[in-house]
C-alpha cells in the first residue's frame, strides 16, 4: 500500500525530471547565448572585452534593463506600456527644471515619483475600468505627457542635471558604474516581488487567466494597476539615470526605449500574450540588445549599418527564442 503510494508519487516526479533539463534549457537558453555573444564580440574586436568597455556596457545596460523590467511586469498581465519613453523624458525634464529649486534633489525625486505614480494609475485605470486596449491607453498617455512636456518647456528644456544624477548616471565605484549597482538592487527587489511574493503570484494568475483570477477572488484591477505603476516608476528612474548619463536634457531623452524594452522582453521570453515572463529574461534580453549595439559600434561601422544589424538581430533572436510562446504551431 505504502509502496504504491510512493510509486504513484514518484512517477510524475520522474517524468518531470526528464523534462526539466529541456525545460531549463528552454527557459534559460537566452542566457546561454550571452557568453557566445560576448565571445564573438571579443573575436571581432579585441577592445570589446577590455575592462573599460565592459564597464561602458554595464553603464548603457542599466537604463534599458530598468525599463525592460517594468515592461515585463506589464506584459505579464497582458499589457504593453508605450508610455515609458515619454515618462523617461518627462522625468529628465522635471529633474533639470527643479534642480535649482530650494528642495534640490529631494524635490526632484518627489515630483518625479508623483508624476510616475499618476501616469501609472491613469494607464491602469484606462486599461482596467474602461477596458481600453493597453496599446492605445499607453499610446494616449505617451502623447499626453509629450504635449505637457513641450508646453512646459516651450520646446526647449533648460537647466542643469543635478550632480547626484550625474554621479548615478555616469559615475563609477571602483570601475563599477553606480547605475549598475542601482540596477542590481532593483532587480533583486523586483525578482523577489515577482517570483517569490503573493503579489507576484497574483500577477501571473491575472496574466495567465483572468477568469481564474476572478474565481480566486483576486482583485485583478488592482494587480494590473499596480503593474502599470511599477512600470511608470521604473521608467522614471531610468529617465533620471539616463539624463545623468547624457549630461544634458532634451525633450527626447529615452526615445526608442518603448520599443527596445518590448523587444528586450520578447527576446527574454516574456510572453506577448501574458502570463509568462521573468526578471531574468528581461535582463538577458536587454543585455543582448546592448551587446549587439556595442559590438557594431566597436567594429567602426556607420550608425546606419548598426540599425540594419540591430533590426536583423532582433528578428533572428526572436525567431530562435520567441516562437514557442506565440502558439502558432502549424
Amino acid at each position: 500500500m505504502s509502496e504504491r503510494l510512493t510509486t504513484s508519487a514518484e512517477l510524475p516526479r520522474a517524468i518531470a525530471a526528464s523534462w526539466s533539463l529541456l525545460r531549463l534549457l528552454g527557459r534559460f537558453g537566452m542566457i546561454l547565448i550571452l557568453p557566445v555573444l560576448l565571445g564573438l564580440g571579443g573575436l571581432l574586436s579585441p577592445a570589446f572585452l577590455g575592462a573599460s568597455n565592459l564597464s561602458n556596457l554595464l553603464l548603457q545596460f542599466a537604463p534599458l534593463a530598468i525599463v525592460a523590467m517594468g515592461q515585463a511586469f506589464v506584459m505579464i498581465v497582458r499589457g504593453l506600456d508605450l508610455s515609458v519613453a515619454s515618462m523617461m523624458a518627462t522625468a529628465a525634464v522635471i529633474a533639470t527644471s527643479l534642480s535649482g529649486s530650494a528642495g534640490g534633489i529631494a524635490a526632484v525625486f518627489a515630483a518625479t515619483l508623483a508624476v510616475a505614480v499618476a501616469i501609472g494609475v491613469l494607464n491602469g485605470l484606462l486599461v482596467t475600468k474602461r477596458q481600453v486596449s493597453p496599446f492605445l491607453a499607453t499610446l494616449a498617455t505617451m502623447i499626453l505627457l509629450q504635449g505637457f512636456r513641450f508646453a512646459y518647456t516651450q520646446g526647449a528644456p533648460s537647466g542643469n542635471v543635478p550632480p547626484l544624477l550625474r554621479l548615478l548616471g555616469a559615475g563609477r565605484f571602483h570601475g563599477i558604474p553606480y547605475d549598475a549597482l542601482v540596477l542590481l538592487a532593483l532587480a533583486a527587489g523586483l525578482a523577489v516581488l515577482l517570483h517569490r511574493s503573493a503579489f507576484g503570484r497574483r500577477i501571473f494568475i491575472v496574466g495567465g487567466n483572468p477568469m481564474t483570477a476572478r474565481l480566486f477572488g483576486i482583485r485583478s484591477d488592482l494587480v494590473m494597476i499596480g503593474c502599470y505603476v511599477i512600470s511608470a516608476c521604473l521608467a522614471a528612474t531610468a529617465g533620471l539615470i539616463l539624463s545623468g548619463y547624457v549630461g544634458l536634457v532634451d525633450n527626447w531623452v529615452g526615445q526608442g526605449y518603448e520599443l527596445d524594452s518590448i523587444v528586450a522582453c520578447v527576446i527574454g521570453q516574456v510572453s506577448l500574450q501574458g502570463g509568462r515572463g521573468s526578471i531574468l529574461g528581461a535582463l538577458a534580453g536587454s543585455a543582448m540588445i546592448v551587446i549587439i549595439a556595442n559590438e557594431v559600434l566597436l567594429l567602426g561601422l556607420p550608425i546606419q549599418v548598426q540599425m540594419i544589424i540591430k533590426g536583423t538581430a532582433i528578428v533572428i533572436a526572436a525567431a530562435l527564442y520567441a516562437r514557442r510562446q506565440i502558439g502558432l504551431d502549424d
Binding site: L82, L126, R130, Q131, V132, S133, F135, L136, A137, L139, A140, T141, M142, I143, L144, Q146, G147, F148, F150, A151, Q154, G155, L259, I262, V263, V266, L272, P302, I303, Q304, V305, Q306, M307, I308, K310, G311, T312, A313, I314, V315, A318, A319, A322, R323, I326, L328, D330
Partner: protein
C-alpha cells in the same frame, strides 16, 4: 407587421455592428459644432476641403494598417518605409520629368515587395508581426540613412499636383485615398480572400483548422500595407518637393490611432477601412479646430491624447453592453 419587426431589428443590427462608426460621426459632428461657435469660416466647404486634403497622408497609411490589424497583426515598419520611399522618389526622379512614371511604379512595387517580405518572415520564422515589422523598420531606416543623410533630390514642379492639385475642386491626393479605401472595402466585403482576413484575425487557430492559407492572406495584407506606405511616401515627396530621411518617423504609431478610432479592434477580426478613413478625418478636423482656436502645437498633442482616451473608453462601454 413581421416585416416591420424585421426592418426594425435589421436597423438595430446595423446600428450595433456600426456603433463605432456612428461614434466617429458623432465626434466629427461635435467637433464641427464647437468649430461653428469658434469661427464662421470653420463650417465652410472650403475649410472642409482643406481638412480633407490634410487627411491624405494619415488616411493612406492607416488604410494599409487597418488590414494588418484586422488580420490579427500589426505593421510597425510603416514609418521607415514611408521615409525610404519618399527619399527614393525625389532622389531617383531628381527633377527629371521623364523618369516620373518609372520611379512611381518602381516605388509602389518596392513598397509592396517589402510588405511581402514582412509576411514571408512572419510565416517562415513564426515570429509575431510586431517583432518582424519592428526589425524591418530598423533595417529600412538604416537603409534610408545609407541612401541619404539629409533631404535628397527634387521632384519636378508638376509632381506636386499630387499633393496640391484639385480636380473639379476636389483635392487629388485625398480623392485617391478615398478611392483606395473604397476599393479595399469592396475587396474586404466581396472577395473570399477579404473575408478570410477577418477569419484569420478573429481566430487564427480556427482559420487554420478550416484550411485557410495563412501565407496567402498575410501576403495580401502586408503587401497592401506596403503599397499604402509607398503611396504615402510619394504623396509626402510631392507635398514637400523633396524626400527626407526622417519624414515618416511619426507615422508608425500615428497610423494606428485612426484605425482604432474607426472601431477596428486591435486584437483583429472586427472593423473596416471606412471607419479608419473617418478616424483620420476626425484627427485632421480636430487639429484644424485647434488651429482656429489658436491653441499652441503643444496643447494640440494633449487634446489629441484626450480625444483618443475619450473615444476608446466610450466604444468599449458600448461594446460591453452589446
Amino acid at each position: 407587421m413581421t416585416g416591420a419587426v424585421v426592418a426594425r431589428t435589421e436597423r438595430r443590427w446595423w446600428l450595433r455592428s456600426n456603433a463605432s462608426l456612428a461614434g466617429v460621426l458623432v465626434l466629427i459632428g461635435a467637433v464641427s459644432l464647437v468649430g461653428a461657435t469658434v469661427s464662421d469660416r470653420f463650417l465652410s466647404v472650403g475649410n472642409f476641403l482643406n481638412v480633407f486634403e490634410q487627411t491624405t497622408d494619415l488616411a493612406l497609411v492607416s488604410i494599409g494598417q487597418t488590414l494588418t490589424i484586422l488580420s490579427g497583426g500589426i505593421d510597425l515598419s510603416v514609418g521607415s518605409l514611408i521615409s525610404l520611399t519618399s527619399c527614393l522618389t525625389s532622389g531617383l526622379i531628381n527633377n527629371d520629368p521623364n523618369r516620373v512614371i518609372a520611379v512611381v511604379i518602381g516605388v509602389l512595387a518596392l513598397g509592396t515587395l517589402v510588405g511581402f517580405v514582412n509576411a514571408g518572415l512572419v510565416v517562415a520564422l513564426r515570429v509575431h508581426p510586431l517583432i518582424v515589422t519592428l526589425g524591418m523598420g530598423a533595417v529600412l531606416q538604416g537603409a534610408t540613412l545609407l541612401y541619404a543623410l539629409g533631404p535628397v533630390g527634387r521632384v519636378p514642379r508638376g509632381f506636386n499636383f499630387l499633393a496640391y492639385g484639385r480636380i473639379y475642386g476636389l483635392p487629388l491626393g485625398a480623392t485617391i485615398a478615398v478611392l483606395l479605401c473604397l476599393l479595399i472595402a469592396l475587396l474586404l466585403r466581396y472577395l473570399p480572400l477579404g473575408r478570410q482576413i477577418y477569419a484569420l484575425g478573429d481566430d487564427a487557430n480556427a482559420a487554420r483548422l478550416v484550411g485557410l492559407r495563412r501565407t496567402r492572406i498575410l501576403m495580401l495584407v502586408y503587401g497592401c500595407s506596403g503599397f499604402c506606405c509607398a503611396a504615402t511616401g510619394l504623396y509626402l515627396a510631392a507635398r514637400f518637393g523633396v524626400g527626407q530621411p526622417y519624414t515618416g518617423v511619426n507615422y508608425t504609431l500615428a497610423s494606428i490611432t485612426p484605425v482604432v478610432l474607426g472601431g477596428t479592434l486591435l486584437s483583429g477580426g472586427k472593423g473596416g477601412v471606412s471607419g479608419t478613413l473617418l478616424g483620420a478625418f476626425l484627427i485632421a478636423l480636430l487639429n484644424n479646430l485647434l488651429n482656429f482656436m489658436d491653441v499652441s502645437k503643444h496643447y494640440q498633442l494633449v487634446a489629441q491624447a484626450v480625444i483618443i482616451m475619450l473615444a476608446v473608453s466610450v466604444y468599449v462601454e458600448r461594446r460591453r453592453t452589446v
